[in-house]
């Protein structure tokens, strides 16, 4: 199970966060790993609807991902299938799940991107190799330190 989970606390109510996640205007203002522009933001946030987002990174490279909305429950749950399109990047389909919970200061957002690799890892135990990776990472960091 190859997955990534991130949690953010946001000083905005869940409905505003939900709109930021699902409207073209919202997506165009945050999507992407650096300050590069979003070139295309298409969304149809209903079950079976699709999204497509294309962005340019500051290094000039362009990337596009798309998928289908699998679960749209405003303002608390959003899931979609996700894949890189039109590039040499990871070809497989993965799963993005977002949960929004109202908290005193606004919203707690839990983001999970899972099924990040092949069928075989998808069927494997949920616990496990992320922990194994962490441990091994420590090992390799130690190795790098001792052999610079």
């Amino acid at each position: 199970m190859t997955s990534l989970t991130l949690v953010r606390r946001i000083k905005a109510r869940p409905s505003i966060v939900f709109d930021a996640l699902t409207t073209a205007e919202g997506i165009a203002s945050w999507w992407g790993p650096d300050g590069g522009p979003v070139l295309v933001a298409e969304t149809d946030p209903q079950v079976g609807g699709r999204f497509r987002v294309r962005f340019r990174m500051l290094d000039g490279s362009e990337h596009e991902s798309s998928g289908e909305y699998l679960e749209v429950v405003k303002p608390e749950r959003l899931s979609m299938s996700w894949r890189w399109t039109g590039g040499a990047e990871d070809p497989g389909e993965s799963l993005v799940e977002i949960r929004l919970r109202a908290v005193a200061e606004g919203t707690e957002l839990t983001f999970t991107h899972s099924r990040l690799h092949d069928e075989e890892s998808r069927r494997s135990h949920e616990e496990g190799w992320n922990g194994a990776l962490d441990k091994l990472e420590r090992h390799f960091l130690a190795t790098e330190r001792s052999f610079p």
Partner: protein, 117 residues
Amino acid sequence: MVNYSERLDRTFAALVDPTRRAILARLEREDGASISALAQPFAIKLPAVMKHLDVLDDAGLITRSKVGRTVTVRLRPQPMREALDWLRRYERFWSNSLDRLAAYAESKEAEARKNRR
């Protein structure tokens, strides 16, 4: 790129199995273990351990070297490092995106409050 993807497939496939992960974790504590020492904690026969080592070797996660009658197994960091880098790309992508999402939503929240006044 295909090679890169195939290498990742092999790495992840090798890591799926709990016995193989245990072998790697053992090597992390004790690099350069003999095969008999590696096999010792497991309730499986030596040939089964050898098969797991073949998979790890094919994925480039270990190397085996023979001195006299003893085969020594060592960790090989490169494929694991690639797998970590690959995972970190996603982490960087989403972590930065979510930071900007938070900033955007917070500005929208401030706007909504101002308009209500």
